[in-house]
């Protein structure tokens, strides 16, 4: 069986009011360098706006970044909004300054993976590849 090669398409988003986007921009650029198509929302997006962009842009995964401590409210809000908009197949990943205790809570809320300071870019890119594979129904990364 041959699978038509679809380019991995992802959204990097900054929910809430946090303006620290060095990490988000680096991830966006690193993903582009790894042949992803990347849309970056810019800062100060509501969960509703992020999900609307994700659906319009037809992405496989969303990467959320927050360094202001608002992740516990905002990341699950994105997952809930995806469900509401019947787009729960879009994968959600997250990163930022996120205490260990919160990681389990976020995973239970449907965030696929969480990356904290010092996470190697290669691991983050791999996680996006896996998320895209799941979304596009591929067995494994080509």
């Amino acid at each position: 069986m041959t699978v038509k090669k679809i380019k991995n398409r992802v959204l990097i988003a900054k929910p809430g009011l946090d303006g620290h986007d060095r990490g988000a921009k680096i991830i966006a650029r690193a993903l582009r360098d790894s042949e992803f198509e990347v849309i970056y929302t810019g800062i100060r997006q509501t969960p509703e706006e992020i999900v609307s962009t994700a659906i319009q842009e037809d992405v496989a995964a969303i990467g959320l970044s927050s360094l202001s401590g608002a992740h516990l409210r905002l990341f699950p809000a994105v997952v809930a909004e995806l469900e509401k908009r019947d787009a729960a197949d879009i994968r959600v990943l997250g990163g930022g300054i996120i205490p260990d205790d919160d990681i389990e809570t976020l995973k239970k809320a449907g965030i696929e993976a969480i990356f904290t300071p010092g996470a190697p870019l290669a691991d983050i890119i791999d996680a996006f590849k896996r998320a895209c594979d799941t979304f596009y129904g591929r067995k494994q990364t080509e």
């Binding site: 620290h20 810019g42 300054i97």
Partner: protein, 549 residues
Amino acid sequence: MGKDKRITEWEEKELAKSLARSPERKDRFTNHGNEEIPRISFPEKLDDKFISATGFPGRYPFTRGVQPTMYRGRLWTMRQYAGFSTAFETNNRFRYLLDQGTTGLSIAFDLPTQIGYDSDDPMSVGEVGKVGVAIDTLYDMEVLFKGIPLDKISTSMTINAPAAVLLAMYIALGEKQGVSSDKLQGTIQNDILKEYVARGTYIFPPKPSLRIITDIFQYCSRNLPSFNTISISGYHIREAGSTAVEEVAFTLANACTYVQAAIDAGLTVDSFAKRLAFFFNASSNILEEVAKFRAARRLWAKIMKNRFNAKEPASQMMRFHTQTAGNTLTAQQVDNNIVRVTIQALAAVLGGTQSLHTNSKDEALGLPTEDSVRTALRTQQVIAFESGAADTIDPLAGSYFIEEMTDKIERDAYLLMEEVKKEGGVISAIEKGFIQRHIETSAYEYQKEIEKKERVIVGLNRFQSEGSVKPPVLKIDPEVEDNQVKNLRELKQKRELKKIDETLKALKEAASGSTNLMEPILAAVREYATLGEICNVLREVFGEYRYRG
């Protein structure tokens, strides 16, 4: 060989004047062995290059520092940035820091406050009380400063787009405490330009933002003569990933934009330039950082003198606050961060900073705990009282490397400022994304070096240890947001709505015309108008800035 007459002249002029005003901390500064440590050292022979480029502390071009006695006269202000959850909690942290020997307060506001939203605004969900304290009305300021007399302290406020509102609340709080505005000491960050490229807490477009800033300059020059009206910040530009040269260049380019805007608004340069302050990052490359501080001081002095014709030395002096580099802290082996902060803090002191914040070791994990904040403050105290670095002035001057690096950073920063000019100035360069692209590229290249292990970060990509234990972090109770919202709604019920409406109407008129905005804002905060109400009036008139990458 006798003393060079130019040294004698400096001693008789600047130094004598400074000593007459306030003596040094000690009669004699000594080493272990009771030998006297010289106040300042000079080359055996002073040549013209030394005089013009390095010179004397407290004299143009201020390469060696802005005060003739530097830390022998007074140590830098140990100013720890703090603020979280509610005004009540932050008041407790402030009192703790004052008890521990901190010498100036520095308020961290939460993001809704920094972006001009009330705690009950839908945009504020999840962010209330997180990265700083939530301030909605004058009432919150009253709680924040309970038991802290405003005439006894200096307060720095990290507030930009709504700086006029928070400053007005501070003035109104002074009125309530019986402290007149001319006694108030402190700093508002008030630096909107770097928000568009690095920090993100903008509200209005650049033009009305610059108008608010010049209104503040004008109001303060008349009413708050001891208040620093702006803290032009390279810190966040560096945190966003810039190099040291970019930090200096973009910060000074921003500074020139403010100075020009104020001159265009009809202010004379010497009426406001003394109250301009700066804010830089101290990163781990200690020698480059020392050179950076010296270069920035010299470049600014030349710009103020030659381009803007500032006549008074105080208008040519670059006074700055420094914070150690948050982005260098690692979540792995957090104790290593204490060492990083020590090196960075020492760079700031050897570079002649006026005040300093040292980061806590756990800030890559979350908000710092009281214990880690104490260690951060102790780091400054060890440098101040044990290291000897504060006992002699500009000790690295004359090092071939430091002087060469100082010259190079000054030259490269100047050239980059010229490039910004060619882009049509700062605002145009921001709109074209020129400054953002510069910073992003530097950030990405640096990250790639780390990923490839070409740049070693101890404990992160080399010398890792398995299972290093993460310390506890400070958590903000989710109830904080709900309580803040509840209290705000209760307060709103108690106000005289007619008066609020009147003051907001007057503000709208002022904003639509060209009247200075400070008085109408002050009138509104006295009636407990909320930050959000005031900013919404200004949003209506000025519009909002949209993100441009």
